[in-house]
């Protein structure tokens, strides 16, 4: 476990992990939005990689991916972008969120070498379930990178216990069935699921998928160690698209006040 993960894991805050898409709407905007998120108190950052066929994502992140693709953003450039983020002073753990095919084409080993040298702390592959992840898990450990596990309310009990025990970085608990995107309601019995995950996990347990308001986030404060917000933030970036390209300073200000409106007071 590296220093950045140590800080993340030892934090007593209700941890905020935002997701944004690399290259949406352009590389420089991604850098400034990342830094703004850290200033607003993000404890870690998930950086999405644009992909033609994102089958775990809803329409908001699909559109962000199309914008990223239009900027010719790809996995290799996303990893290199993390280097630039480090140069600009970003201190929180960065997790690359990529579909497996992109990783396969770049080469898993090549990706890991590049990631290690660029200051990447973890990787999350939404279409690589535990059963298929043996090799990537092995080489991630060799390169000191956390392979983030996703668990769902439909994950069977024994598997949930095992994934919780073996989780690195943080354990990603999916709040509801379906793809990423804003939701008005969560699944019944979610607290039980989060409790079961927490029982075995050595790392913080974060809840994600569908969270878009302060009220929703606060609802999980007691049952989890942190939360992930993706689509709601990406939607805000979409709204600010033209300003982020032409009047960035002002747009980033608006973005920050949106993030502040979203966050609960998370000292516990």
């Amino acid at each position: 476990m590296n220093k950045r993960w140590e800080v993340f894991q030892h934090s007593s805050d209700y941890r905020f992990t935002p997701y944004i898409m690399a290259g949406d709407p352009c590389e420089e905007a991604t850098i400034e939005l990342s830094l703004a998120l850290e200033e607003c108190g993000a404890h870690a950052l998930e950086l999405g990689v644009p992909y033609s066929d994102p089958l775990a994502d809803g329409p908001v992140i699909q559109r962000a991916g199309m914008r990223g693709l239009a900027q010719n953003m790809n996995l290799e450039k996303t990893v290199k972008l993390v280097s630039k983020l480090r140069e600009r002073g970003l201190k929180i753990p960065v997790i690359i969120f990529t579909y497996y095919n992109l990783l396969l084409q770049l080469g898993e080993n090549r990706f890991l070498k590049l990631a290690e040298n660029s200051g990447v702390d973890g990787v999350l592959v939404p279409d690589l379930p535990y059963e298929e992840s043996g090799y990537l898990q092995k080489i991630c450990s060799e390169h000191n990178l956390a392979l983030i596990s996703l668990v769902s309310p439909t994950t069977r009990e024994e598997k949930l216990a095992r994934l919780s025990r073996e989780a690195e970085g943080f354990l990603y608990c999916i709040s509801s069935l379906g793809v990423t995107g804003v939701r008005s309601e969560f699944r019944a019995g979610l607290d039980e699921f989060l409790k079961a995950a927490k029982r075995n996990s050595r790392v913080p347990v974060l809840v994600g998928f569908g969270l878009s308001t302060r009220e929703q986030i606060q609802q999980f404060d007691g049952s989890s160690d942190g939360f992930i917000v993706g689509s709601a933030i990406v939607k805000k970036i979409e709204e600010l698209e033209s300003d982020l390209l032409t009047n960035r300073e002002e747009a980033v200000k608006t973005f920050k006040s949106y993030i502040e409106s979203l966050l609960p007071v998370y000292s516990r």
Partner: protein, 399 residues
């Protein structure tokens, strides 16, 4: 690994296959695998399936000798396995009946399906009506425009057709959207995949329900030819369900097999769907297989005049049979397929689907190089009524 031992317990055909899906649906794949394995070992289920194929779809379909076509072509004689004579007009119904019976057995009341040209959508809507299930069919906006007739048929059958506007708005995106819907509704919904693609156990299941094509062909041919086997078997390949069903009983026998992909405007152009000839290893729709993609791994849009072959991936077992060289995969252009379609019409009075015309085109080339006393069997996977509009447009455009 020999062909007889694939897939392994992890759903692998060599390196191909597997389950590359979000964690949320992993339990459903396990549940499906268990239910499927139990069903195919249950004599009652198998008898019911065979009975439905007979009394609902009209099986067995005939094996027709194409006398005049063979004569004018020269060389080996050509036999047609008439999947076009199935209920709904294509082999797709075999698999749809099988999976629908499984859905009923599992107590599922809702099915979802993806469709490109609409043939699988029509088959899914048909079995949903027959077995009293609700049915949602995901179809790309572009395909809805091109295949208005099939859209109307699905609605007539009581299915809900959902327009997919993401990505390139065709089959690949419709499949993504069907998977997304399955992830959301996985607890009470059965995903009825139409081709030998997708995460394990789908490729195995689709083969199981389509192998009736090959088994009938083998016994019909043996009956005509005093126990002999054909000298070659040819089938078209998009995702590969009619081909894998046709090949199934012959894979372990000494019969040359040919899978025919769509070369579109030509494999040397960017306008083709020749996944095995031009693709590389990657993951699409839950399976590691060959696919058409950029060097960075973005999946590219294929092209073929035939909507059923217009798919950037291929079933993992085909990728394996290609790699082990057990099956020879070749590609046929739009032009060659259209020419073969006309020859078959004029010489045999059969209007086949544009997909099947690719297999016919290759059979003609192959037969020419063979002896007069040899026999080529070609899978005529569907009838061509659905393509009349495309054919008309092409004729007009060509003038």
């Amino acid at each position: 690994m020999t062909t007889a031992t694939v897939p392994d317990h992890r759903g692998r055909y060599g390196v191909f296959g597997g389950k590359y899906v979000p964690e949320t649906i992993m339990f459903a794949l396990e549940e499906l695998e268990t239910a499927f394995n139990e069903a195919i070992q249950d004599q009652e289920f198998n008898e019911l399936f065979q009975k439905e194929l007979a009394i609902y779809s009209g099986r067995p379909t005939p094996l027709t000798k194409a006398d005049r076509l063979s004569e004018s072509n020269g060389g080996a004689s050509i036999y047609l396995k008439r999947e076009d004579l199935n209920h709904t007009g294509a082999h797709k119904i075999n698999n749809a009946i099988g999976q629908a019976l499984l859905a009923v057995r599992m107590g599922k009341k809702k099915i979802i399906a993806e469709t490109g040209a609409g043939q699988h959508g029509v088959a899914a809507a048909t079995v949903a009506a027959k077995y009293g299930l609700s049915c949602k069919v995901y179809m790309g906006k572009e395909d809805i425009r091109r295949q208005a007739l099939n859209v109307f048929r699905m609605k007539l059958l009581g299915a809900e057709v959902i327009e997919v506007t993401s990505g390139s708005q065709t089959l690949k995106d419709a499949t993504n959207e069907a998977i997304r819907e399955w992830v959301a509704a996985v607890e009470d919904t059965f995903y009825l995949i139409g081709s030998a693609v997708g995460p394990y156990p789908y490729p195995k299941m689709v083969k199981q329900f389509q192998q009736v094509i090959g088994h009938e062909t083998e016994s019909q041919f043996k009956e005509i030819k005093q126990g002999k086997l054909p000298d070659a078997v040819v089938a078209c390949v998009g995702g590969g369900s009619n081909a894998i069903g046709m090949f199934a009983p012959f894979i372990e026998k000494d019969v040359p097999l040919y899978g025919i992909e769509a070369a579109g405007m030509g494999v040397e152009t960017a306008q083709h769907a020749a996944t095995l000839s031009k693709g590389s290893n990657g993951v699409i729709h839950g399976s590691l297989t060959k696919l058409l993609q950029t060097s960075e791994g973005q999946i590219t849009e294929p092209y073929s005049i035939s909507a059923g072959l217009d798919y950037p991936g291929i079933g993992p077992e085909h990728a394996y049979l290609h790699e082990t060289k057990r099956v020879t995969y070749e590609a046929v252009t739009d032009e060659e397929a259209l020419h073969a379609l006309k020859l078959l019409c004029e010489n045999e009075g059969i209007l086949c689907a544009l997909e099947s015309a690719h297999a016919v085109a290759y059979s003609l080339k192959l037969a020419k190089k063979m002896q007069k006393d040899q026999h080529v069997v070609v899978c005529l996977s569907g009838r061509g009524d659905k393509d009349v509009h495309t054919l008309m447009e092409f004729e007009e455009g060509g003038e």
